[in-house]
Symmetry: C2
Subunit: 271 residues, 2 copies
């Protein structure tokens, strides 16, 4: 396999797992891997097991030709694009579950989602045998869960979490942004604006985490066109909701805008 | 790590995971690995997560000095003897589950047992990065589950199942045999005798699998000192109980003799 050949040449391998429909956020992951690794593998796989029965698996955007061009331009040495039947044999019956971290927030709203994620990432790690793996901070809970899985199952892999890439007006890049109508797209900026507000309140006032969470919820609940799933400040390691101030925290938001569910987050530094 | 160094020298690594209290069965695994691999790792870890709350974890035999001598004599290059806290960090919360195959037989009698097994074996695979792993046929369901896990999660590892090693009178070697009183030890030969009977009936009569299973159950239920858990003939891939004859099957027995639970099995060839 190409990765083992690269290792025998002393090259370290970086993997960038994606579901395709690539945007500048994905590109930043591949570019970072290119800088840090001698051999870069991007994977494109719309993983059916991480979608719920009423979610957007069938209509999830698939833009393979453009994706391959972006991977190459960003510096990937190899793009792995398996089919669902390549990945899941007829008798497949194994899953990897990270328990506590996957029960709240996205896990509570999307039952089974993180089992699908942790299992497919474990598979990709075993297939590609990378030295490093790159994930976006945008899926904050996901990167925590992957880090936990890697630590708990002793994968010999370093997880690198890369900063969120945003549009000029602050909207976090997401493959699902293309679902938004122009009006919804305008409304969606409220998510990052609310996170900025939370950052400012943490840095410049003495409000507690609970009070700031409440302000985030009030702001988003009061915005027409936004159906809030959650908005809160949590511990950045355990994801437990915070009442009090602590040095570092994470503010997390999930909301439906029209039919599109978006998530976003920012690290908060309390003064 | 020693295994990566061995790989760079072009040597393949074999792993023999054990819970210690080694006997000739374990030795046969290490010797087989020694023949087939350039670098042999034996592991000794009494894994708490595969014992139920009322099982024999605390009294499971621990004979480390003798084990290390046996590993060396059998040709192990390295013996990995982690502590429970080495293996399970304070925040560990991840498990690997093979679903269907782990629900019947031992899985039904020992809830959670196979989650513990598959999780610790996944960890050992990630720690040692072997090319091959050796398991005994004595734990028939276990080796099937590990094979399934390896296939489903794409571990780049070949699983080798080695024949059961028996005492002169047929009793399958097991670390738990040392729990038996002399009287129980004599009774225990009924398990392998019953399997021999099943093999003979499959090879030499036209009895169905269901009929042979029934004779196994009758024989063991009628033996004083044996408390039968199960005795049946099953498909050797799916472990589903067989009604009819098929070319190859497996006869499986589990029974309590005194306080000691023993298992045994034999492959059957129907005529």
């Amino acid at each position: 396999m190409a990765v083992r050949a690269a290792r025998l040449q002393g090259r370290q391998t970086g993997i960038v797992p994606t579901m395709g429909a690539l945007h500048e956020g994905h590109v930043s992951l591949i570019e970072r891997a290119r800088v840090e690794c001698g051999f870069v593998v991007a994977t494109i796989f719309v993983n059916p097991t991480q979608f719920g029965p009423n979610e957007d698996f069938t209509k999830y955007p698939r833009t393979l030709d453009a994706d391959l061009q972006m991977c190459e331009a960003a510096g990937a040495d190899l793009v792995f694009t398996p089919s669902a039947s390549d990945m899941y044999g007829q008798h497949a019956q194994t899953f990897v579950r990270v328990t506590k971290l996957s029960e709240s927030l996205e896990g509570a709203h999307r039952p089974g989602h993180f089992d699908g994620v942790s299992t497919v990432v474990a598979k990709l790690f075993n297939i590609a045998e990378p030295d490093r793996a790159y994930f976006g901070q945008k899926d904050f809970q996901q990167q925590l869960i992957i880090r936990r899985m890697v630590s708990d199952l002793d994968f010999p892999i370093e997880i690198i979490t890369c900063p969120i890439v945003r549009e000029a007006d602050g909207l976090a890049m997401s493959s699902r942004n293309r679902y938004l109508t122009p009006e919804e797209r305008a409304t969606a900026t409220e998510l990052s604006q609310t996170l900025k507000m939370a950052q400012k309140l943490a840095a410049e006032t003495q409000l507690s985490a609970a009070e700031i969470s409440q302000r985030m919820q009030q702001r988003l609940s009061g915005t027409p066109g936004i159906e809030l799933s959650y908005a809160l400040i949590a511990d950045p390691e355990t994801l437990e909701p915070l009442e009090d101030r602590q040095v570092t925290a994470v503010a997390l938001i999930a909301a439906r805008i029209g039919k599109t569910r978006l998530i976003d987050n920012e690290i908060l530094q309390f003064r």
